[in-house]
Symmetry: C2
Subunit: 185 residues, 2 copies
């Protein structure tokens, strides 16, 4: 069950990009781990940049879907909860890809600037929606705080001695985000 070489390359690259960073990973290293030469990688991907986008693009798509769906959704407490939940799900379902952007934003920007801008834009739209209609600065900042908390799903691993069960991470962080937004008022 050798599977697709292209797929293997993508998996190895994902592993290395997410742990060492994009810039810090050379094609030589990837080729070595896959058991190929650098040159062979170029048969499957036309450039290092293309390899990165092949990894990131599908996730961007899912991320953008969350933001698009929100467009005409009434900003009710129930809906906000639901959107936070879905945002968290996307993060948890794509931890490795998210880790690339967390560990080496500068490298990713240098490689695929426009895609990164798009990502920031999507996050911005999501944050703005969460802040509610005609938000005060305070409400905007609370929305930023809420989004920041969700990111804790990725960083908690680093800051806890023993990793927390994913279910609890999801529950506690969602609760926390909701608490920050003061949805009960």
């Amino acid at each position: 069950m050798e599977g697709d070489t292209r797929e293997t390359i993508r998996e190895v690259a994902l592993e290395l990009f997410s742990t060492r960073g994009f810039e810090q990973t050379s094609l030589r290293e990837i080729a070595e781990r896959v058991g190929l030469t650098k040159a062979s990688l170029y048969y499957h991907f036309p450039s290092k940049q293309a390899l990165l986008t092949a990894i990131i693009d599908p996730v961007i798509e899912g991320w953008r879907t969350v933001a698009i769906d929100v467009k005409n959704l009434p900003n009710t407490p129930q809906n906000i909860r639901e959107v936070l939940r879905r945002t968290m799900d996307v993060l948890l379902a794509n931890q490795s890809v998210a880790a690339i952007m967390l560990r080496d934003p500068a490298g990713v920007v240098a490689a695929i600037g426009p895609i990164w801008e798009d990502l920031v834009d999507t996050s911005k739209r999501l944050t703005t929606w969460i802040a509610g209609p005609d938000p005060t600065t305070t409400q905007r900042l609370r929305a930023v705080a809420a989004m920041e908390i969700l990111g804790g799903a990725l960083t908690s691993v680093t800051y806890l001695d023993e990793p927390a069960p994913e279910d609890e991470v999801r529950t506690v962080l969602l609760e926390s985000a909701i608490a920050v937004l003061r949805l009960e008022d």
Copy 2:
């Protein structure tokens, strides 16, 4: 008022490292902006790495101070508030340096691994203290969430259309962190 060349180099490097990332900034670029040649930089700093540590070290020191002072501080609600406040102050007082670590963690790790580990360790101790004595996993996660919120002081600029006044950023994010910790219980 030409000032110290060494200091100028440090300032230019800080500016570039914090906006483009450490790896993405070459000594050629720095030299160009300072108005020197690459070779001259080496008269003032023995290596690119040394330039980075000259920038980061003082801040690490301040950061560590917060964590050390906490060591024998009783974990009362009042003290937790105070520690959060001081943590926020350190972040706000060193936004550019913090931005380096935010934009290019992978590059910083590759250059000065041990110092980075130290930083993570310090943050970990701080988070653990905030979580309180014999914390449950939920309490630990809330502490992570609280720390994550403070980081919003750095990212809010990216996610808000118009930058929020620093005073309000401080106040709202501190309130949010406290809300997450449920100090009122």
